[in-house]
């Protein structure tokens, strides 16, 4: 009997990762930058460890979700746990600064056009 490639998946289900919770609070939105405040310690849940490792540099929540390959809601719940324990801190991006720091949209468009013409 040929086994399907589904068996390369993971045996643990998401409700085990969140311990049955499916609701996250609104502390974090998709672009909230997360920074870890401490190193992972032994005995932590593996997802927490990975988040802490990932967030040595400020990382957006949506990015963490992509890296961990977990749904946004799950990452929010996990981050909520870590935040409550004080192991991570959240930084909401300052829109004005980031917009000012980025090149003009028209310039980007020109670059894109130029690239396409290459």
């Amino acid at each position: 009997m040929i086994r399907k490639p589904v068996d390369v998946g993971d045996p643990d289900r998401l409700y085990m990762v969140t311990d049955g919770r499916s609701e996250a609070d609104d502390t974090f939105d998709l672009v909230t930058l997360i920074v870890s405040e401490c190193e992972p310690t032994a005995g932590m849940q593996s997802e927490h460890v990975r988040i802490l490792e990932l967030c040595r540099h400020p990382t957006a929540l949506v990015e963490i979700a992509a890296e961990l390959k977990l749904p946004i809601t799950v990452v929010r719940i996990l981050l909520g746990d870590l935040h409550d324990m004080g192991k991570v801190s959240a930084r909401h991006p300052r829109a004005a600064e980031s917009v000012a720091g980025l090149p003009e949209t028209t310039l980007l468009q020109e670059v894109l056009d130029g690239l396409r013409h290459l």
Partner: protein
């Protein structure tokens, strides 16, 4: 009889002998009297007297003469009767002696001879024949009847001997049938032989009756064996379909959880949990029916995932507290079995403890293997119940007939324990309930060859630029007690995470996946390695970050997420 008359006859005979002397005396006396009367009579009447006297005497003489005659005749008669009596007395004596001879000698003698096998006539001829016809007849009848009964007794005895020997033979055959033949036939049938094969291979009894009986039994047994085998095979087959469906449902659910937003996430998780429980029940039945587990893992599974995978399959998963700092991984071939076994034991523990009490699971690594202890704080099991549970989980009784009602879980535990060499022991728990100690043997613990082990793990479980789970520090659920001794070991482990170097520039294909997939992964992880390695260096480049951001948005915004993305295709 004439015996009582004898004295009277004797007396009359004596009286008869005295009469001949008396009669002449009477005649003389009366004559003298008459003469005297004539002499002494007066003259004138003398004549008259004389005449009367003469007449009277004549009368007397006549009477005396008649009497004398009668007496003589009676005497003669008496003499004749006496001789007759003598004769009959002698006959009587002879008969008595013959009778006694018959009773004392002839009959025992004849009986002896007849018993020794002589014929009735022959036996009788050896003895004097009694003169009396009645006695003769009696002895004849006696001899014949005796000979007849002796013949009958002989026949009966021979019949008895014959029957006895037959009975002995039948008994021996029956014993052989019961002790050797039938068990051998049953053994053959259990091994899967057909009824005809079994009948041909075994030495059957000579007796037709026994033979027919044995044949009937064997055919019936073969039929029921066949029926139970067919039922098992059909159930296993049907269950394997259900299992496949469950697995694909779980994969679909996982994909939906990625695709859809928070509004349905809770419902999806509930469905996921129900499907996982369904999977456990289906696997349980399938294993009992001789089928297989629904899943086979082709990579080592870390202990955390094993425990979570096990707990996630039971209804009361929130009551289970995991205390594990083990970073060991269980080899793929045994992972599913271990998960199922632990799930059954946890389910049992959760079911038999109060709904508010927690079930604690501890994991320790020992030289003998990995020890998993499951403790509940429910009621203490009675000795008998514990013995029964021990017996079930020992796997000694793996017959379906030993299953009782809905208590199937422990039977499955027994089978899995035997299959993988896991030892399962019950003991009273220090928390007041019951503890189960599961020892996973070292041969099922994966060797920690990190780069090689981590590569397939990464491909299957996590985003490409994340370190492999096998190299991760031990993980415990937030609620669990953190053992302090695991700390330093875990910290030293963190920097040693592999960074995709194992591929050596060549794509590495994991079993069950296509080469194109592996190639795609390699491409994806290639640009991210510097970012991961260079911890003190600058942040990752904008491209990778943008890519990750984009992927994250895709998976988050389920509405527009219909198109296939790179990681969605590797998801399941």
């Amino acid at each position: 009889m004439s015996v009582p008359t004898r004295p009277r006859q004797r007396r009359s005979a004596k009286g008869g002998r005295s009469s001949p002397v008396a009669f002449p005396v009477i005649l003389l006396v009366t004559a003298a009297g008459a003469a005297a009367a004539g002499v002494f009579a007066p003259e004138d009447s003398r004549t008259w007297v004389l005449a009367t006297a003469v007449v009277a005497w004549c009368c007397v003489a006549v009477v005396v003469g008649t009497a004398s005659y009668l007496v003589r005749r009676a005497h003669r008669q008496a003499v004749a009767q006496g001789s007759e009596l003598e004769m009959s007395e002698s006959v009587w004596r002879q008969q008595v002696s013959e009778r006694s001879h018959l009773v004392n000698t002839t009959m025992p003698g004849v009986a002896e001879r007849v018993k020794n096998g002589a014929e009735a006539e022959e036996a009788l001829s050896r003895f004097p024949v009694p003169s009396d016809p009645h006695l003769r007849q009696l002895s004849q009848v006696f001899a014949t009847a005796l000979a007849e009964s002796v013949r009958r007794a002989t026949t009966a005895e021979s019949d008895r001997q014959h029957l006895r020997s037959e009975l002995d033979r039948g008994k021996a055959e029956l014993e052989r049938l019961a002790e050797e033949t039938l068990p051998a036939a049953v053994e053959l049938l259990r091994e899967g032989s057909s009824a005809d094969t079994a009948l041909a291979k075994v030495d059957w009894p000579q007796s037709t009756l026994l033979r027919e009986l044995a044949e009937w039994v064997v055919r019936e047994l073969a039929y029921s064996e066949r029926r139970s085998a067919a039922a098992q095979a059909a159930s296993a087959k049907a269950l394997s379909r259900v299992q496949a469906k469950t697995v694909s449902m779980l994969a679909d659910l996982r994909e939906m959880q990625d695709r859809h937003g928070e509004e349905v996430f809770g419902d999806l998780l509930r469905l996921d949990h129900s499907t996982s429980q369904l999977g456990l029940m289906t696997d349980r039945l399938a294993l009992l029916m001789g089928g297989r587990s629904s899943r086979v893992w082709n990579k080592p599974i870390v202990m955390e995932s094993i425990l979570r995978g096990a707990v996630g399959r039971i209804a009361a998963y929130r009551r289970v507290r995991l205390h594990s700092s083990s970073k060991a991984a269980i080899n793929g071939f045994a992972a599913e079995g271990v998960m199922h076994l632990l799930a059954e034991l946890m389910d049992n523990a959760a079911n038999f403890s109060p709904p508010i009490d927690e079930v604690h699971v501890y994991v320790e690594e020992r030289s003998a293997g990995i020890v998993v202890t499951i403790e509940d704080s429910g009621l203490k099991m009675s000795d008998a119940a514990m013995r029964r549970a021990e017996e079930s989980v020992s796997g000694k009784v793996i017959d379906l007939a030993a299953l009782q009602g809905t208590r199937l879980g422990l039977g499955v535990v027994g089978r899995l324990a035997v299959k993988y060499g896991i030892s399962v022991n019950y003991r009273p728990s220090s928390r007041g309930g019951t503890g189960v100690v599961v020892l996973l043997p070292p041969q099922m613990v994966a060797q920690q060859r990190e780069p090689i082990v981590s590569e397939p793990l990464r491909g299957g479980t996590s985003a490409p630029n994340v370190p492999a789970p096998a190299a991760e520090p031990p993980v415990v659920r937030p609620q669990s007690v953190v053992p302090t001794e695991g700390g330093p070991a875990a910290r030293t482990d963190i920097p040693s995470k592999p960074a995709g170097a194992a591929t050596g520039g060549l794509p590495l294909r994991t079993p069950g996946r296509t080469m194109a997939e592996a190639e795609r992964e390699r491409r994806k992880q290639a640009p991210q390695t510097p970012a991961e390695r260079g911890e003190p260096g600058p942040a990752r480049d904008a491209g990778s970050r943008f890519g990750a951001f984009h992927r994250g948005r895709r998976s988050a915004g389920g509405a527009q997420g219909g198109e296939d993305t790179g990681h969605a295709s590797t998801d399941d």
